[in-house]
Subunit: 75 residues, 2 copies
């Protein structure tokens, strides 16, 4: 599976879960202890950036789902 495809799916997962929880990007960053910018959330959701596992881990904690759910590529 290609890099761009992986990033796209990860991004879709983040966005889907965030919307399921009824959160805006701003709500989401507000729930994260260490600062994350909405800029970065947007770029991750759009698959424009190859996020580190720590960033995705912080997002998963704010969304209250396991990291593995965000990392589900549907394999």
């Amino acid at each position: 599976m290609e890099k761009s495809e992986v990033l796209k799916i990860i991004g879709q997962n983040v966005k889907r879960i965030r919307l399921e929880k009824g959160l805006t990007q701003l709500d989401l960053v507000g729930k994260i202890k260490t600062r994350i910018d909405t800029t970065n959330i947007s770029r991750i959701e759009k698959g424009r950036t190859n996020a580190t596992i720590h960033t995705l881990s912080r997002i998963s904690q704010a969304l209250e789902v396991p990291l593995s759910e965000i990392c589900n590529l549907g394999e």
Copy 2:
């Protein structure tokens, strides 16, 4: 969960799965299309580096397990 703890668990997952498959780090990088250095594998397994999702994705493909398995933090 703290950054260092996340990286440590991810590293343990990679190492455990690699050993279960009976592969050395060199075997592993040999199965990855785009180049990855054993240096990097070692650093990830030791939790010394905050790998990107693309790097972990390539590793998961070489190990023939879902990315989500490597990203299982046991939450």
